[in-house]
């Protein structure tokens, strides 16, 4: 059989062209993995005790791989709604580059490898937290909450909040107030971050019949909820400054950033929909972009305080 025949047989059988390595890598959601790597790294570095660089590197690698595995499982399950939404239509499964079954197989294998390797490299508390994170994202969020409740973002946000806690547990083998507050910081930050995005990314979720708050409860209610969750985020973010991982740099950073974020949420709440539409959702876009910086700078400040303590 010639290669041309082999190709046509492959493509006729699967209905898709053969995937390249990059298509499989894209299943792991590399952009989400980068946030996971950063927050898990901070959790690991600020934890008391410390580990050898090789063990730390291995821990971060397999936490990232576990996050990637849950991304692949999410892409397997959500292929139908990903195909409808403009933002996700080019993902490997809905684009027809990788068959859904292969995404499932890759996700399951990488989940098993990452959990076992993290357990062997560090401890089974960290491995257990990673296993729960993968289960939470793939089953609780993707299979259940995402399609059934407009509060999907709130509860589902827990999956993205675990990495610093896992990084911390990789060193200490336990869960403490500081690691719970690092979890809380991302958990409370997720709703205003995503709802700000949902306000100016109109149509996509509605078309896919995903019950986003903007669709089920209206845009005015979404604006109110952004303000409520931002107000709830403030004590968590500032409270972290008074734990063992906090310090003057973190406290100063948290006070300034939370004041700006709260002002942004207030501005979003005060705006009428017509006003927002007229200026192309300028404030909502600004707050969304700032929210990314907000999280990065909070964890960056924790890292600076940890280095400060070492000097």
């Amino acid at each position: 059989m010639s290669d041309f025949t082999a190709q046509s047989v492959t493509e006729t059988r699967t209905g898709t062209p053969e995937a390249g390595f990059g298509d499989y890598f894209a299943l792991l959601k590399p952009r989400v993995m980068s946030l996971v790597v950063f927050t898990a790294l901070v959790g690991l570095l600020v934890a008391p005790g410390g580990v050898s660089p090789m063990i730390g590197f291995t821990a971060i690698l397999f936490i990232a791989l576990g996050a990637g595995a849950s991304g692949a499982l999410n892409m397997w399950y959500d292929a139908d709604i990903d195909a409808v939404m403009k933002r996700t239509a080019k993902r490997p499964v809905p684009a027809g580059k990788v068959p859904a079954g292969e995404a499932l197989t890759l996700g399951l294998w990488l989940s098993a490898i990452s959990v076992v390797m993290l357990g062997l490299a560090t401890n089974w508390v960290a491995a257990g937290l990673l296993a729960f994170t993968i289960f939470f994202y793939a089953v609780i969020y993707s299979m259940w909450l995402k399609r059934s409740t407009p509060w999907n973002i709130v509860i589902g946000g827990a999956a993205g909040s675990f990495p610093p806690m896992i990084g911390w547990a990789a060193v200490t083998g336990d869960v403490s107030l500081a690691s719970v507050l690092m979890f809380g910081l991302i958990f409370m930050w997720t709703p205003p971050h995503f709802w700000a995005l949902a306000l100016f990314m109109k149509g996509d979720y509605h078309k896919a019949e995903v019950p986003m708050l903007t669709v089920t409860h209206g845009r005015a209610e979404t604006r109110k909820q952004i303000l409520i969750y931002t107000a709830l985020l403030v004590p968590v973010a500032i409270g972290l400054a008074f734990t063992s991982v906090g310090g003057p740099v973190y406290l100063a950073t948290a006070v300034v950033l939370n004041a700006i974020f709260l002002k942004g949420a207030w501005d979003i709440w005060r705006r009428e929909e017509a006003e927002a539409e007229a200026d192309g959702y300028k404030v909502e876009k600004k707050v969304f972009k700032f929210s990314l910086l907000y999280l990065f700078l909070h964890f960056g400040a924790l890292l600076i305080d940890a280095i400060w303590r070492l000097i």
Partner: protein, 65 residues
Amino acid sequence: MPLAETHEIHKRRMGRNIGTALCLIGFCAVVFGLTIAKVREGSMLEAHDHQPRASQLPITEEVSQ
């Protein structure tokens, strides 16, 4: 057209094969590095092997006569 001409599908397969090979080599390197780090830390060096060993016996004080 020469029979051995490389088709685009070959490039994709080659990329996939090289990527898989690099991942496997990387995995072996990580396991090797991790083993070295664990041995240097000195943890889990003396596992139970079902044979009585002096270091596993409880410390007993000698009774003075």
